[in-house]
């Protein structure tokens, strides 16, 4: 019963997680998570058509105030979702941009970001 077991999984990750931030040209514009999901679908539809729009994307977290979101996609569709989000320029007649800040196959890793942590050190 008690013993040592080690499993290494090296293949393409099953799931990928993206941390993104949405920005509007007009800083007062706010949307909610349902609208954001529609926005992602629209972005995918724009670039990859109907099949693209059918890619399953889960929005694990959406912060209404900062409009930051954590998305979950399957490993196979990561490149498609990433590119579609990057190329999105407009939603509901308003110019916007999506910045992908972090990408990882480990959801835990999105909890901290060492790259941006030290940019605002007290000086």
């Amino acid at each position: 019963m008690s013993g040592f077991q080690r499993v290494v999984s090296k293949d393409t990750a099953e799931k990928f997680y993206l941390k993104v931030a949405l920005e509007f040209e007009n800083p007062d514009t706010r949307i909610d998570s349902v609208q954001f999901r529609a926005l992602v679908s629209k972005a995918l539809h724009q670039l990859y058509g109907e099949t693209g729009a059918s890619i399953p994307v889960d929005i694990l977290r959406f912060q209404d105030d900062t409009m930051e979101a954590i998305l979950r996609v399957s490993g196979r569709s990561l490149v498609k979702v990433w590119s579609a989000l990057t190329l999105l320029g407009e939603y509901a007649q308003e110019e916007c941009a999506i910045r992908v800040t972090q990408v990882s196959p480990h959801l835990l890793a999105l909890a901290v970001d060492s790259r941006h942590f030290f940019q605002n050190l007290p000086s």
Binding site: F4, Q5, V7, K80, L108, V112
Partner: protein
């Protein structure tokens, strides 16, 4: 539709016991030198237990020095006063490892420089091309200097060459984070700060804390002996198995899979919504089954530069806490720096789309068992 190649990921799942003679938990913690954040998740707790609080890295401070030339870190006086007299952790910040130069001093007294091609061709120190580059198209090199070697002292050729390269050839300056664990208890971190305070801007930084509590939450039920039963059943060839075989043939599985737990811990750490329905438009993620309801649980995170000794302390405190309390399990997660040139030991670390190097201990009260889950990226060497 077009298929794109998605980046590879490596995840290592280990199941063992702390009392097992071949347990590698100590080496896993102590070899991971540059720790950016430590996070504990304790179910069935109202607040952080005192034992854990005492052992936490809360009171451990570190220095941030701005625009420090590398020559200062390699001169003989600094080496004999700090590098040789304790465990010194130095890591450059603000520079990205995939495009810029990165420097670090390991507690073993080795200076690791990860430099791009142009810098390498001007620097004049011997190095190795990065492992993750294609041959003949190398754009990254890693240079290693042993600061505690006998030949590294004033007057010797090796030392003079290194000094000349950092001083006269290229003026390599970085923003550095420094943490120091002196061998001699009479010395303290203050010495490090006062060493340069006249010449460079030194800041004493505290670890940043972040804590949150969750009420009426469902948490997965875990059986410590069933690590990866679902995956194991489906693709036995892909995974490498060691030790005793598992009772996975049972038709009724009464535990969550390690991969599911790992994802769920991530969801908690990111404060994600775990209540999605399977037909929801926005989110279909929910806590893996089987699950149990707990009234309250605590998640606490320290961020900064944390030494591995401190984490070892914490792990021990957490172990004894889990043993004598009614927690079903507890989790400790350690995040490494994205832009550190090494991950575990002196294994090279790189950045390709993501540069994670993190590990999680899931600690069980029964038989001192634990799960260790290590997540690394494509540009990393398996520890």
């Amino acid at each position: 539709m077009v298929e794109f190649l998605s980046p590879k990921s490596k995840t290592i799942f280990e199941s063992s016991a702390f009392i097992h003679k071949n347990s590698r938990h100590t080496s896993c913690v102590s070899d991971h030198y540059f720790n950016h954040a430590v996070e504990v998740f304790l179910p069935c707790c109202d607040s952080l237990p005192d034992a854990v609080q005492v052992s936490s890295p809360q009171r451990q401070e570190y220095y941030a020095v701005k625009r420090l030339p590398l020559a200062e870190l390699t001169n003989a006086e600094f080496v004999s006063r700090f590098v040789k007299a304790g465990r010194l952790y130095v890591l450059s910040i603000g520079q990205h490892i995939d495009t810029h130069n990165v420097a670090a001093i390991l507690p073993t007294g080795r200076l690791i420089l990860s430099v791009n091609k142009d810098t390498y061709q001007e620097l004049g120190l011997e190095g190795k091309p990065s492992q993750f580059e294609k041959p003949r198209k190398v754009t990254k090199y890693s240079v290693e200097v042993n600061l505690v070697a006998e030949s590294f002292c004033k007057g010797k050729k090796n030392y003079e060459r290194v000094q000349w390269c950092f001083k006269d050839r290229l003026d390599l300056t970085f923003d550095f984070l420094l943490a120091w664990q002196p061998n001699d208890p009479s010395q303290s971190l203050d010495d490090l700060g006062s060493f340069w305070s006249s010449k460079y801007e030194c800041l004493r930084v505290e670890q940043r804390q972040h804590s949150f509590q969750m009420r009426n939450q469902s948490i997965p039920v875990i059986d410590s002996s069933l690590l990866l039963h679902r995956q194991h059943k489906s693709n036995q060839d892909a995974s490498r198995m060691n030790g005793s075989s598992q009772g996975c043939e049972e038709t009724q599985v009464r535990s969550c899979d390690a991969a599911e737990v790992y994802e769920w811990l991530g969801a908690v750490a990111c404060q994600c919504d775990c209540s999605g329905a399977s037909d929801s438009f926005v989110n279909t993620y929910r806590c893996p089954e089987p699950s149990q309801q707990v009234s309250s649980s605590v998640c606490h995170r320290w961020t900064g530069l944390i030494t591995s000794e401190r984490i070892l302390h914490m792990l021990d405190a957490l172990r004894s806490k889990v043993e004598c309390s009614r927690m079903p399990w507890a989790a400790l997660t350690v995040h490494g720096f994205t832009d550190s040139p090494v991950s575990w030991g002196s294994r090279e670390h790189g950045f390709s789309k993501y540069g994670n190097n993190l590990y999680t201990f899931v600690i069980f009260p029964k038989e001192q068992r634990y799960w260790l889950i290590m997540g690394i990226g494509d540009h990393d060497v398996c520890p």
